[in-house]
Every structure is written in structure tokens, then in C-alpha cells.
Amino acid sequence: MKKLINDPDQVVADALVGIEAAYPGRLAVDHAHRVVHRADAPVRGKVGLVSGGGSGHEPLHAGFVGPGMLDAACAGEVFTSPTPDQVLAASRIVDGGAGVLHIVKNYTGDIMNFEMAAELLGAEGGPPVASVVTADDVAVQDSLYTAGRRGVGVTVLVEKIAGAAAAQGRGLADVAAVAARVADSGRSMGVALTSCTVPSAGRPTFDLPEDEMEIGIGIHGEPGRFRRPLGSAAEIAEQLVVPVTDDLDLTGAPVIALLNGMGATPLLELYVMYGEVARLLEARGVGVARTLVGNYITSLDMAGCSLTLLRADDELLGLWDAPVDTPGLRWGA
């Protein structure tokens, strides 16, 4: 394992020190609870947006804290859900009197820890809490017989769009409804060319031969649908586009496309991939209105990418275009 770290067990704590140092006056960190929050939190009268999850997916979630997006992010251990006391602390920090929205990716641990935090918050007479769960990974087929589809790329879009709705001063129920609509209208599919290596484990999470790829990979290295000999970018793009467009009708609506890098794939290759994706979508009559290409929800040092497509409308596009000012996403600000 070759990594730029001091101590494998201190990776998350050390990264939070770095995030705080990199964005003085914009982000602040509660190190005891491992919460990254807006330096000006709480914003009075605004719904507070809290997300979080295991670390290792940066810039998700801490990199999306700032005006127009999240108010706070809870950093769990690498690939491990944050604990309820972290979520509780974050919710208190961002409570500006208009309620708090929890944005949760669909993993058993994340769901339970956020649920417990909401219960504890209610028991202490805290702010009203709504929550939205993302479950967009079409690689999981038997979702009735498993813990369900995993939350992946659409989480980035939920955080941006719900963040814009909250910034407009909308109420908790309205912001939660917008978030739920985005979560329901997006689908994703990923591919891995190499495994990631969790620092505390010190070795690759799974073995993937040099000439093979895993189609449908999860962002923690969960097994996908199948393995195939490594194909060309055009062939891989088809393996991603077909299952997503089979699962969700994207014709006749403006679509937001996210071509996301898994952490170790050069932007050059992501652009090659997006060119192929765009060609396939056009051939299927899917009209892409907005595009994002880059590393937004990563899996440590995994090579590969994921495609997320969101069936949007004028309202969601307007919220997408609204100003955002975070380390990981910034425009119009």
C-alpha cells in the first residue's frame, strides 16, 4: 500500500484538519464529533441540510458544504457510517429554526444511525427533522430481497438541488419533497477497473485481474452484476447507459448527466467516456440539458467511473443552475 498518510487509523481525523486549514472562514470543523459545517452556521430561517456517511468518497460529503448546498457533513470512519451522536451534533449546529433535512444513502448502517439520531433529536425537543434516502444504483437487481438499491451518484444531485431549494427560503416539507423527487428520478451504474485499498486494511478490497472489469460495482467495492474482459470506452459506455435507460424512461425531459470518476481515473479518460455516453444517449433520444464530468463521489483509489442520469424538469434545472459555493462544486457565486 502506497498512500500519502501518517497513520492508517488517523486518516479521517487528519483529513478533517486539512479541510479546516484549506477553507478558513468558509468551513469549520467540530473535531470531537467529526462534523464539517458552514462557518456561518446556523443560517437563521433556512432549512439546515445535513448529510454524511463513511469517509473515502470525497469530495462527497464534506466537499459539498457551503452556500447553496449542505450546511454540515458527518464524516464516519472510512466506508463506515457515522454514529447517531455525530448526526445529532451536526443537526444542532445547523438548526436555524426552520427544521433540518437529513440526506442519507441507502446502506443499512447509514439508515439506522440517521434514524436513531432523528429519534434522539425528537426526544430532546430538537428541531423537526425530515429525511430523504437515495437508492439509485441499478446494479442491484433483486432489490426486494436485499437491503435495496445502494445510494450512489444521485446523492450529489440531491444535495445540490435540495440545497438550492433551501437557499431560496422554502420550508422543510417543500425542500424534502424536492429532495425526494430528485432521489426518485435518478439512476446510476458504475464500473471498476481496479479495486480500492482501505487504509486500515492495507490491501486491495477485492481481486480484479489486469484484463477484467467489474460492471455494476458499488462505491465500497461491493460486487457488481458481472465481470467481463476489459472493453473499449465505447463498449463500457454501453454497459452503463443500457441498464440505466432500461430502468428509467428519460425521453421527453431535460436530463442532468453526471459522469463520475471513482478516484484513480484521469479526467482525460472520463472525457473519452462521456463522449461515448453522449453519443449513445443521443441515439436513444435522450436530451441532456446539463452535464457534470469529474470526481464527485469516489471510492478511494479505485479506477473506474459511474454514470448517473436524472430526469429533470424546468424547476429542477432552475435549482441546478442556482449559485453554489462549496469546495467541490462552485458556480454562479
Binding site: P84, T108, G109, M112, N113, V140
Partner: protein, 211 residues
Amino acid sequence: MADDVTLGQLRAWVEGFQVLVAAHRGYLTDLDAAIGDADHGTNLDRGLTAVVTALRESPPGAVDELAKTVAMTLISTVGGASGPLYGTFFLRFATAAGPVTTLDVEALALALRAGVDGVVARGHAEPEDKTMVDALSPAITAFETAAADGAASACRAAVAAAEAGRDATTPLVARKGRASYLGERSAGHLDPGAASSALLVRALADAVAGA
């Protein structure tokens, strides 16, 4: 009542659970490596070690205080799904038991039932989903059935039921938690959550027998 279970015995239950989990740490982690993410023994051991420290630093004066300390410590130190599940068990146990220093066998049965119901509600797991519930659910039913014979007998019945339930998870296909993504590939492995739950029941029996 001679058969009442005391605060001291319940504290010994929790401390005994810590000793059992520490002794089986590698075993639990190996079970988890086969169908999960290889951290169950490590996470639970870390949480229970923190629990024992917390109980030493501020010894609880009542059963609900004991169980609440256990719950909040597990919730904040274990992480993953095990933290909230075991935390919920002890939180519901605390509420059902109340601010008392002894529990008769019926009160203990009610508190255990509340804890198990909490785990079911938190995890939305049903029997044969290959989870903790497969050990805990038969254990509480056996305890209730044998309660008329006294706490020690009820505990022995619960241990037998928990261990049988644990062993019966091996052929099951997981339908909850991380293992569920493996589908058919999860069959043939003992569930690590059912294994640690059986240790929880065994620790209770040991503490009650050691009166």
C-alpha cells in the same frame, strides 16, 4: 424474592458480554469477512470496552441507568449497523425495566422482550433473514415459556434457543444488511450478528447462574 435478578447481576451480564466478545473477537470478524465487511468483532469489542470503562467511571444506581449507559456508549462507539441495533436493544430494555434495582423474572422477560422488539423494529428484519433476530427471537420466546421455572431455568432455555437459532442461520440466504448483496453466495456461512447475539444471551445466563 430469592429469584430476583439484581442490578449487580445485570452489570455482570454486560461485563461478561464484553469478556465473551473480546475472547471471540477474531471469530466474529472472520465470520463477517466471509459475508460482510470484516469488522464485526473489532467494532463490538471496541464498543463494549468503552461500556465497561463508562460503567466503572460512573457506576449506575438503577437498572434503567445501567442499560441507558450501555446503549448510549454502544451507539456512539460501535458504528455500522451493530451500534444502533445493540444500542436500541439496551435503550428499550432501560425504558421497560425502569428505575429499579431488581427485576423479578416476569419483569426481566418484559424488558428482554422490549429489547428484542426494538431490534426487530430498528432493522426491519424478519425471522430467517439471517440476522441477529434469528438468535434473539427464539431466545426471548424460550425465556418467556420457561419463566415459571425461575430466571436461571429461563436463561438456560434461552441460551439453547439462541445457539440453535444461530446455527440455523448457516444455510440461509441473507435478506438484510450488507450480506444480502451476495444473494445466494451468502448461504453456507454463519451470520456474525446471530453469533454475537448468542454470546449476549450466554452472558446473561452466566451472570444469573453466578448469583
